[in-house]
Symmetry: T
Subunit: 71 residues, 12 copies
Amino acid sequence: MANHVYKKIELVGSSPNSIEDAVNNALAKAAKTIRNMRWFEVVETRGYIENGQVAHWQVGVKIGFTLDEDE
Amino acid sequence: MANHVYKKIELVGSSPNSIEDAVNNALAKAAKTIRNMRWFEVVETRGYIENGQVAHWQVGVKIGFTLDEDE
Amino acid sequence: MANHVYKKIELVGSSPNSIEDAVNNALAKAAKTIRNMRWFEVVETRGYIENGQVAHWQVGVKIGFTLDEDE
Amino acid sequence: MANHVYKKIELVGSSPNSIEDAVNNALAKAAKTIRNMRWFEVVETRGYIENGQVAHWQVGVKIGFTLDEDE
Amino acid sequence: MANHVYKKIELVGSSPNSIEDAVNNALAKAAKTIRNMRWFEVVETRGYIENGQVAHWQVGVKIGFTLDEDE
Amino acid sequence: MANHVYKKIELVGSSPNSIEDAVNNALAKAAKTIRNMRWFEVVETRGYIENGQVAHWQVGVKIGFTLDEDE
Amino acid sequence: MANHVYKKIELVGSSPNSIEDAVNNALAKAAKTIRNMRWFEVVETRGYIENGQVAHWQVGVKIGFTLDEDE
Amino acid sequence: MANHVYKKIELVGSSPNSIEDAVNNALAKAAKTIRNMRWFEVVETRGYIENGQVAHWQVGVKIGFTLDEDE
Amino acid sequence: MANHVYKKIELVGSSPNSIEDAVNNALAKAAKTIRNMRWFEVVETRGYIENGQVAHWQVGVKIGFTLDEDE
Amino acid sequence: MANHVYKKIELVGSSPNSIEDAVNNALAKAAKTIRNMRWFEVVETRGYIENGQVAHWQVGVKIGFTLDEDE
Amino acid sequence: MANHVYKKIELVGSSPNSIEDAVNNALAKAAKTIRNMRWFEVVETRGYIENGQVAHWQVGVKIGFTLDEDE
Amino acid sequence: MANHVYKKIELVGSSPNSIEDAVNNALAKAAKTIRNMRWFEVVETRGYIENGQVAHWQVGVKIGFTLDEDE
């Protein structure tokens, strides 16, 4: 286990509701093509404003996954 | 559209409930005097503690708005 | 009041639900041994992934408390 | 002269042509309402892409100006 | 009190004497037009040199003030 | 639109002429395999020197693109 | 001597007078319970404002001390 | 040569022995699918602890490689 | 397991031999009083020079450990 | 070649025209006394304003050069 | 004047009394060999502790000076 | 001793073997012309890759030395 290699990719998820949902949306998208995701790191939190209110949150995440059998 | 100029201001919103509410409170306050707000960036998340619990969240946001016809 | 001295410690709280709950869990743990906690600063937001979803949020917080009569 | 006070504001200028033009556009806009601008600092360089090419550069600048007789 | 909104502005104060005086000069200038200033954060310390000596200190401060009844 | 997910990749473009050209070269290369590029962020500006002059500029850019139908 | 281990803690000292006094106050408090303090690093300089003037300086310091015989 | 475009990816290599071995393991893994790797930058050094000792080092590296004929 | 709380402390280990040994020395010292150490993060690498050579390496590490039954 | 040692110095070049010219002016000056310059890194981009326009760009560069036969 | 080139060097001055004196001591030393010093930037503030008190302040400064006729 | 002034220079050492050797090579080079070197700080760790393996490590170090009788 000690010699695992991980790859980190950076996604930006968005949601009209919350920071957590924006992260979940990014993970759900990534899960369609990446196996073995292990951890994420929030690297940026921002969003767009419409009519003086948050229209949607945009949250940057780095996602780490194991590069062992595949890729 | 390519030559727009934007101004960024920095506010700190607070809320006893959540990070998202603290941001919303800052935007609601700003919307009273600023038109054309377009985006925000969370730059700091902190808060005050009372009786060993979060009393209120304090979230710093930079807000970008268009400087075109006005100001 | 002007000559207060504060100490800051760094904890990481976790929660399967939200960033706010992870912070609350860290504060609840700290409150068992520390009196006079005054403020916190979120310094890191990350988490573990299981089955392509957030398994739990892990939020690093610095907690400031008064060092006056005790410690 | 030694006791001058300066204020710094943050603008984002844009231009389809170059980083320098984006800064110039921000300054030209600011010059309509601010006297005594002295210096700027580039704090962010980014841009939008259309059809695989730079559509316009967006350059964040902090602008410092003297707060002496006015404002 | 929990829903206060604060605005942060950035000034640069200067003084031939000390870092503290440069901050004080910035605050004194700001106090002429801003009510309800609450805290400051030193973000930059620099200065100009003449004849091999400090001619004046220039200290950048962010100043936070309450946006409640006014502005 | 609010639930878009974006991916960010990091390229380094180079050019003997200018920072802008180095960015353009990176985008042109990326456009051969990536659809739906939306924005870029300059993260590093450096270059190689030959005979005491700039031989070529090397500019690091993060490029954001929509992950919606594909990948 | 080469294998010493040091611990660093973070305090915030305050003083109505100066940055230096705020640091001294933090050290004086720490000296009551910590032996063998060796060095400090200023990590944050801020303060509270009352009536448009500095009410007190608040200076964050990391303090390093030897962990050899004790703790 | 002046118009080369490079891509940077971020991996985390691990090793029970040393920082250098963790980097080497990341490179060896990457070399299975990437041609033309040119340089790396260490961006993070951490590790897991078991029984009070380093169980394995985990070293984050950005790897730059030429995007010229391929990808 | 999802609601664990961790504490992070910062030590500086030293060694005449290598960065790895300096980290190991810090961990060995910490292991005398802390149970349940889980991970470390290298935050600073420096050292002292004597006679134009490295006399000893000094490596700052943050160490995370579980706060569950104890402390 | 593997054991080369490089020195990095920091210059600030200025130009009324462009960022690139400011860098070129710094290199031209350095080339009068330094042989074997290999690379540069832009570390700061700022400038002075006169009459509401850029008077000159000031660009900070770190320059790396080989320390092999000389110095 | 627009094409001036400046060099920046980094010194650490020390003083038992104050941050300002530590900077002044660094400048006084530099003034013995460098002409045309123009500005400084404080980049680090730290110090040594003896007997639980500040023994001396150590302040890192970058000093900028004109490279025009000389060097 | 309290009023010492130090100068810091930045070198990049390289080695095919290890980070430590790269630092040692930088110090050995510096020791040929600089007396009284006291400490170093590692500021960057990177390297070149050949044939999918580390060809040589390149480690940036800032070196501090006393400016007292000489220079």
